[in-house]
Structure formats: structure tokens, C-alpha cells
Subunit: 668 residues, 2 copies
Amino acid sequence: MPETDLDQRCINALRVLAMDAVQKANSGHPGMPMGMADVAYTLWTRHLKHNPHNPEWPNRDRFVLSAGHGSMLLYSLLYLTGYPLKMKDLQEFRQWGSRTPGHPEYDIELGIETTTGPLGQGFGNGVGMAIAAKHMAARFNRQSYPLFDHWVYAIVSDGDLMEGVSQEAASLAGHLALDNLIYFYDSNRISIEGSTDLTFTEDVGARFSAYGWDVQEIDGHDCDAVDAAIGAAKAATGKPHLIICHTHIAYGSPNMQGDAGAHGAPLGEEEVRATKEALGWPSMEPFWVPDDVIANYRLAAPRGERAEAIWRDMRTNYEHAHPEEAQELARVLAGALPENWQTAIPSFRPDNGPLATRAASGKVLTSLAPVIPELIGGSADLAPSTNTILSGYGDFQANRREGRNFRFGVREHGMGAILNGMALYGGIRPYGATFLVFSDYMRPAVRLAALMGVPPIYVWTHDSVFLGEDGPTHQPIEHLMSLRGVPNLTVIRPADANETAAAWKVALERRDGPTALVLTRQKLPILPETAKAAMEGVARGAYILSDSPLDRVDIILIATGSEVAVTLAAQKLLQDHRVGARVVSMPSWSLFDQQPVFYKLSVLPDDVIRRLAIEAGSPIGWERYVGSYGDVVGIQRFGASAPYQRIQEAFGFTAERIAERAQQLMAE
Amino acid sequence: MPETDLDQRCINALRVLAMDAVQKANSGHPGMPMGMADVAYTLWTRHLKHNPHNPEWPNRDRFVLSAGHGSMLLYSLLYLTGYPLKMKDLQEFRQWGSRTPGHPEYDIELGIETTTGPLGQGFGNGVGMAIAAKHMAARFNRQSYPLFDHWVYAIVSDGDLMEGVSQEAASLAGHLALDNLIYFYDSNRISIEGSTDLTFTEDVGARFSAYGWDVQEIDGHDCDAVDAAIGAAKAATGKPHLIICHTHIAYGSPNMQGDAGAHGAPLGEEEVRATKEALGWPSMEPFWVPDDVIANYRLAAPRGERAEAIWRDMRTNYEHAHPEEAQELARVLAGALPENWQTAIPSFRPDNGPLATRAASGKVLTSLAPVIPELIGGSADLAPSTNTILSGYGDFQANRREGRNFRFGVREHGMGAILNGMALYGGIRPYGATFLVFSDYMRPAVRLAALMGVPPIYVWTHDSVFLGEDGPTHQPIEHLMSLRGVPNLTVIRPADANETAAAWKVALERRDGPTALVLTRQKLPILPETAKAAMEGVARGAYILSDSPLDRVDIILIATGSEVAVTLAAQKLLQDHRVGARVVSMPSWSLFDQQPVFYKLSVLPDDVIRRLAIEAGSPIGWERYVGSYGDVVGIQRFGASAPYQRIQEAFGFTAERIAERAQQLMAE
């Protein structure tokens, strides 16, 4: 298919819109869209299977702009091919309340598949989507019914490939032989500081070959070469595909092409004009695009509608041929949990215990696995320690796409980005596990899940200094507090097995953001109160676990997780000293903060000003609940390597010490 | 040098001590030390240049156990070669207060070069040490005086190489041609979940070749092969070296060799016995080591003392030949700043402004660069945005080791781990820069700097939603609060150029932990008060910037960073309403918390209970300073893409809105 004059104008339209929008906003990144316009045009008009009139079509190809700073490329393509993004939106690029923020933000109604910008994340998201596509195909496709049968495309930059998160995801994608991935590497050899010769001189192609990828190398300004490379990638099975596209940043700009200055700043009015002239653009009017260019791009909609119509016919026939599967598919795509799934949640009695909450979580998973087939997940090489194997459901591997257990390897960050892609894909409920201290390794991905409002579930075990002998490198201190600050991340630290079961219920019912389950390594008693009270109590974030044994509340003891049991023991000691202590279990700040005032006051009444919080972590923030007359039993130093009972003593987390601190408060 | 029976017993002693210590602690990782005993013995007895009687000898080889879970290997080597680590210490492995915690913790007196355990970190530390060695050599070595002339060795595991942080560091090490690095990859093909076939099947050797490393592959149980590989690595210049050692985890154990179960749990009394038998170990007594084995290892001390003596002679001659350089070397090795360096710190006047604090920081760096030659650093591809180029001092590159500017690439995590290695090496003061939101990418390394008590300086700019158009992916919300929770990390958010200068002073004078400078993208006025008050005020963490203009203090307004100027404007508005507001600038919580009570009370007197904190970030924790009757102007959601003035209005960070909130508080 030789390139026509219309093709060339369609490509240049992408360059012009990027230049104009960045110029108008006086802020943004014109260079990348200008450099990747040929690749993007070829992909979007000759290959991408999508329906701009139904961005949610489940069998669409996915397109991820991992180099999210080039957002204008994506916005232009969405506008031009007829998604509900208008010229007015492009003109409001980077303005308050616009639909075109500086970096793409997940909005499936507009066709934006994921939020990108922090580099390397989109790379991992695409891997997650490819995994999900393979798994959904294995679960639902039947002979003659390839319901899930599409590609996952991404544009990735030098910066994406320098980031460790992409390297982790690339290694796993190669291992898993995700041949439905086709990534375009925008090799323009320019990053913010200048030429990549400054710092990035490795042989990227050889590296990806070493990961087990199929690698091609082309001129990214040659549409036929792009077309041929995509064709070759589609034909080569068994490996993910990297197409290295040699490009020039700010292609077409007489003075800025190939210059790092074009990466993240407007070209300037004059250079915009000069570029339009050099490109032979017929008008200097900002945002002007010829009608035939728009018409050509808009062919995407009828093409997409036809493709989707054929698929819908197939799905209708599938409903007849495989009614049960079809019903199940409709359910999981709607994100609904199976009917009566809650009845499978186990309940625990004190004589079942003691049980670490990680072990309780494992039991909950074991009970739920048969009931919720879309529940899949794994661990960053800590499955035995995090109790996250779904026993009997096999591993997801290259030769076993129906497997529900994921072996992420020692790749926490990659796991986080991949979980986001899996959750974005739909039809599955992914979880991922590691030690709480290693949540630090995956924070950027966790933050993006919260920002996007997608619901992966994190199982973070070994949640305090009481993991013991592994020592301070493995002992979280600031983590609970710091995770509570992430907007839209629900953090739950259950006190025993029943609170753990309740926490899983909250996590699974949540659809609009991620949930972190923070679990112990060490065994905990199963509390007599929780079989009845935990299910509602955890959902409310905090509740009265055991009220004052006296006829008054002298002091409120607020504890979380493993500190609840020892606080109950302290309550008894205080009773001996005629101090009436109420014990509040507070597994989740954010859930409690969402409760109506009357409920909050019923748990923490204003007139009880003596309050003591007990949590084996940074005390920062507890003042919110204990007030000016309260105190916190927390930890303001790094931990220590020793058996945990010794650490409990040394750090003051015994019933005696807690009771003492409470009495000191009473005396003040 | 053929392996003798004594060699074999020396090697087996490492296996026996690891088994016995883990067994006694009933916790730990015996498999790796047993698998890597041959490599470790060969390295430590035939190659490693070190003096157990002076672990701080500057020209020693560095040895990093990146696979820190194999800590018993390191402890055994240190005990056997005669460092001040005793048999008693080995017997107290993983116990409270012992010198042998679960994972190695930086302790140069014992010969422990860095804290490891969180995987991939040691890999990056070694790269930082190799960089530092090259730089120190370029700065101080002279013809006939190779004062810095040694190797950096590390043992790295499958897990280390799966982590993104190691991949970032490896790519940079290849680019920088760090041929003084020799890494042993313990390729035992076992991780916690089982065989690496589950998830890690890439061609590691090919990947490292792609990064530009020299790669060899050997039988890790063949001492002569190990010896020869080290020799070959030393002879091959221009590339870092990876020696892939094929090993068996838990080598020698009849039933556990090659088993994932031997990774992280004691072998069991019976298997320990069986292994000792299989190894032909003469005694079943725990911790028993033959005298001739100890004597053989202890040859390290006289050998090391001789080597160091020769080096000391060279240094003495150097003192005569190059007295100025020798004096300068003594100073930087002692970690002392140059005399009168503070006089180079610039001061700013209101008519110099407005100035972003990132720009002020750049000016401070420019002023200090000629005065403090050991100040070196760079950015993760954001040098122009973070203002961190030391102009005129060149880049550190393969052909320019004296360069003081580092091009870390888009590798924040690698940068963090490398900075730690540079700081550990001594003689230099490294800094690293990125946007505050991307501190998330480097958190695990930041935490380790704090845990080790080494002083890299972080320059984190674009510190709030007021970075504007880049939008929520780039706008920190929870970061300030979450970083304040890291023990021993000093976080400083200066309010203007003078506070920025004072913050640099605090950071440079700090020797026992890292400091984060949190700086604005947007311009800020230079406040009239700070030229005089900032130097002491910042060092104290908080100070009265502008006291109530009335004869009483009705309310205290506490602000940080960019919110201070707008709070001063609010103070004026309040005065018009006859409300006397004191404005406290609080650039650092931790510095303020360390002040004596009388000082704290002078800034925040108990009797003023109306207090309002103003900070463009998560409000969590501010209750500590505003108390039960206070309030916080903070942000509890993600940000937005728009010009920053629009965001200031929308998020309530204008003088009018702050004054309103203060008046509401007054009315309550």
C-alpha cells in the first residue's frame, strides 16, 4: 500500500494538532507525537481493531501510550477517528476541568485505556492486558467462537525502557510468551537531558531478545515498513514483539527536529509556522485540519462497527451454543460477583486458633476460589509466605492460560503495573502479594491504581516488627501510615481471622479503587467477639470490640491488627485497677472516616478525652483519633532482628506496658 | 592452584557454620551460603584485598553480599578471616542485640560494607562504589601513586537480577564501562516459590552482554574455574564483569540440595547431621571448626596488613610529593567540610525575586560547587528541571572520571541505590534529583540510606499540585507526609530562596542520614524576614517568621514551602479583621521535634489553641501541631491538570480562603 498524499496529510495532521495544542497551552510535549505520527497513523488506520462508537467493546485491540507525555498524539487520534473527544477538548489541552489533561487519564468512554505518564507503567499495563486477554480466551473461547482474539499495542519510549518496572515486565512477558503484545519502541535517541548517548547506550534489541522477545528494527518514518513489521509480528507466534522504530523527535520542524528542547516545551509560534510551511501544511490557522483528513480518519467508525457487529453475531450464537459460559461471561464483564458468593466466606471460632492473619487470608482464598472463578492472582516470589496460592487451580504459564496462579517472580513493581493492566482489562479480579515492607517497591503502580480507580487487591503480609528475625530491612515502620495517605487506597489491617474474612469481603465488593490487606506473619488468637461483630465492624472501619467492663468509659484504647489482642489483655489489667477501658478495633481509617458523624461519635464519643492508640508503626497521624489529650504507643525507629516476643517486650507492646501507658494518661 | 583437602575443609566450614547458625536460631537461609561457599572461599583467599585488622582501609576491595539473606556466609567469612566478629556472635545469629542480624547491616568496624536484604539494592550499591572508586582515582591518583586501585566484588542472586533496580544499575554500569566491578551471579535456579523455570527463563548472560558487560559462565563449585574467571575479568578492561556461577543451593545436603525448601528455613537437626557426614566433617558438635581451617583463613590478616603497609608507604610519599592533594584527601576521607565553606552560601534579597526554590537550589549549588569539590551528583534525566547541573564541572563518563555531573537516566531507583554506594564509599558527598512524585520510584533505596545512616542528599522538585499542567500523575499529595514517617530521613521543605540555602547547609552538615530537599517548580517571592532568620530557623525545623501584628496572638498559622508566602498574605487580611495571627514557617518536622521543649513552646505556646496548618498535601499528621482545636488546609484528593494559579483557587490555597478558614476557627 504505497503512501498517498492523503496519507501524508493525515500524518501531518497529528503533528500539527500536537504543535498547536501545546503552543496554545504554552505547556506540553510536542516532540514525541511529531516523531511517532507515521507509526501511529499506520497502526490506527491499517491495523487497530476498534470501534470509536463503542470504546468498551470487549474484543477491541488495546492501545497503550506508555510514553504518556505524548498525550496529544492519543487525543488527536481519538478526536480524528471519532471518539467522543471534540476539537474543543483539544483546544482546552491542560486546562482546568478539560478532558485533555497533561498526561492521559484512564477514561474508557473516551477510549483512554490507562493512565500513563510515570514512565514504564504503561509498558507493564500492556503486559497485564495481554495476560488478561490470554486468560479470558482460555476461559471463554470455544471452537468457532474466538470471543477474545485481539492484540495489545503500545508505544514505548527510551524513558520507558530505562525504567526498572518495564524491565521486570518485559522479562515476565518473554517468559510467558505473550505473543499478543506488539510494542513500538520510539527510538529517537533523545531524552530530557539530551542525547541518550549520555546514559543509555545498551543494545536494547539484544536485551529484548535475551528476554525472549521477537525484535524487529525499522525506519519509523516509513509507513510501509511499519505496516510490514506489524504484519510480520502478527505472523510470528510464541513471543511478544518489539518493533524498534528509528525516529526523529519533532519530525518536520526545521530547527527543532532531533533536539531535546522539543521534548517538553512548546516549539514557539514562529517555529510552529515554519514547521507547517516545511510540511506543506495549507493553513496557518491553529487547529485547522482539512476535511478529507478528518473523513479519512473517520472511516474507523464504520469499519469498527462492522467488526463489532460480526463479533456480536458470534456472541449471540455463543449464547445459544454455550448458554452457561455466555451467562458467566456477561456476569464477569459486568463486574458483578456471583450470587450468594458471601456464603462461602468462612467464619472462625476461638478454638480454631491461633492463626496468623496471612494464614486466615489463605483460608478465605481457598474457600472463595471455587465460588469466584474470576479471582486470580499471585505473588512476587513469596507465595508460600503470603499464603496466596489458589490450590488446585494451576499456574498461568505459556502452555496453560487457564491457570489462576501467577508467578510474578521477584518483581514487585512489575507485578503492580501488570495487576493494573489486568484490572483495567475487565472480566477478572486480580490480586498480588508480597511483604508489606516491599510495598515500597511497587508504590508508583499502587498510586496509579488509586488514581485510576481500578480495584486490584494487595495482600501485604509480614506487617510489622513482629515478623521478627529477618530484621529491620524487612520490618515495616512508616508503611501503614504512608499508605493511608494515598487518596482512594483502602488500607485494612485486620485483628484476627474473622476480621480478615471481612476485609476480603470489603476488598472484593469494592469496584472503584484498590484495597490493601495488611496481614501478620505471627499467629494471633481468634477473638471471641469477632465472629459476630467483624463483618459489619470492618466495613465501618472501626467499631467497639469490647466496651468498658465498668459502668463508665474512662479511656478508649484504639488498636489495629496484631495489637488488638494484646490491647484486650491490657483492658483486663486496667479493670483490676478500676479503670474502665473501651477497646476499639480500627482496621481501616478511610472506611471509618466515611461513616456518618453519629456513628463516629458512638465509637469515639467527644466526652472521653483520654485515648490511647496502639499500633506497631509510625505514630504520625494517630493524633486525629486520640486528640490533644491522647497518646500513641507506636514505633519511631527502625526495628531489630530477634524473635518477635523479645521485640514485643523491647518495644512496649505487652499488655502490662500498654496498661501502664493508659494509667499514665489517666493520671495526667 | 589445585584444590587441597584443607581448601575443601575451609569451604565446608562455611557450609557448616551457616547450617549450624540457622539451626540454632531456628530461622534463616542456609541454602545460599552452602551453594556459594566455593566461590566465596576462592575470592576471599585468592583475590580479595582487605585487612581484617583495619576494615576502613580506603584502598580495600569492596565486597557486597547483595543476596543479603545469605548473611551467614558473610558473617562466617568475617569471623574466620579475623574481623572483630567472634564465634559468640555467630552463635547469637538473629537474636536481640547481637552483631549478626538476619540480614547484614552496614557496620564498617565489622567489615560489613552495606545493608542488604531487599533484593537488587546491593547490586546498585556496588555500582555506586565502583563509580566512587573511579572518581576518587581520577581526583587523587597521580603518576606512581595509584592510591585508589581496587575492585568491587558482589554476590548477586536470581532475585537480585529479577529486580528492576538491578537492571537499571546494570544498564548504567555498562554505559559507564565500570571495569572495576566483578559480580558473581549465584545461578542456582531456585527461588522461594520453586524452580526459576516458573518465572525466570530469560538469557541473563545475553542480557548483560546487551548492557555492555563482559560475561563469563562457570561451574561455581570448581574453585579453579572461579579463580581463572576472576583472573580473566581482571585482565579484560573497559567493561563491568559478570561471572555466572552455576551452583546447587544447599550444596552437600543429601536430601535438600537443589530444593527450594533450603532457601529460607533450617535444614533440621537430622539433615544437618546427614550433611556433615556427607561432607566428611569430622565433628557433629555445632559450630565446631578445625584449627587448621581457622589458621588458614587467618592468613588474611598478615597478608592484608602487608598490603596496607605498602599502601601507607605510598601515601606517605604522596604527602611529600603532592602535599596539597594529600591534605585534601585527608579532609574528604574524614568527611570534614572545607574551612569557611559556609561563606560561599548565597543570601537573597526580596528584590532578587521571585525565584522558584528549585532555582534557588541551583544557585546554591553553583556557589558551593567550587568550594566543595567532593560535592557531586546528578539527576534521573531531569537535570534542567531540577536545576542540578554543576556548571563547568563536566559529566562523569567512561572517558572522563573526574566529571562531577551524573547522568543517571530515567532510572530513579537505580539512582537511589547507586547514591547509597557512593555515600558508603567515602570521600564524596553525592546528591540525586528527580520530581517529588517520583521519590516513590526510589523509596526502597531512600529507606536503606536512612537505616544505614549514610548521607546522600535528595533534591526533589515539583513538590505539589502547583506544578500545574502536568497533572495528577506528576502531582505529589501523600509524599511529604509519607516521607516524614521514615525514621532518620530529614525532610526539609523551604519557603523561599533563603530557606533553601539554609536547607542545603543542614543537608551538607548532616553526616548520619539522608536529607530530602523538597522544592517548588513555581516562582516564590523572597520573603523580607528570611535573609536574617532562615539560617537558624530552618536548622530548628520551625520558627516564628512573622509574629502577630496585634498585641496578642489569636491564632497561629503554620505553613511550609510555597504556602508560607500566601499565609503571610492571609495574616495581613486577618489583621484587617482584627485577628492577630502569628505565622510559623515549619520547613522540617523532624528538626523541630528535636528542639528543647522551651523552644517548641516559644513557637507554639500551649495557650494558643487556635491553630491552622497550611500545606498543599495530605493533612494526615498535622494534628500533632494544630491539636484538637485546630484545622488543616490540605489536600485529600488527587490533583488536576491546569495552570497552577487556577489550582490554587480551586484547592483553597489563596490568602482569602486561608483567612476565611482562620476566621471560622476563631468563631468555633
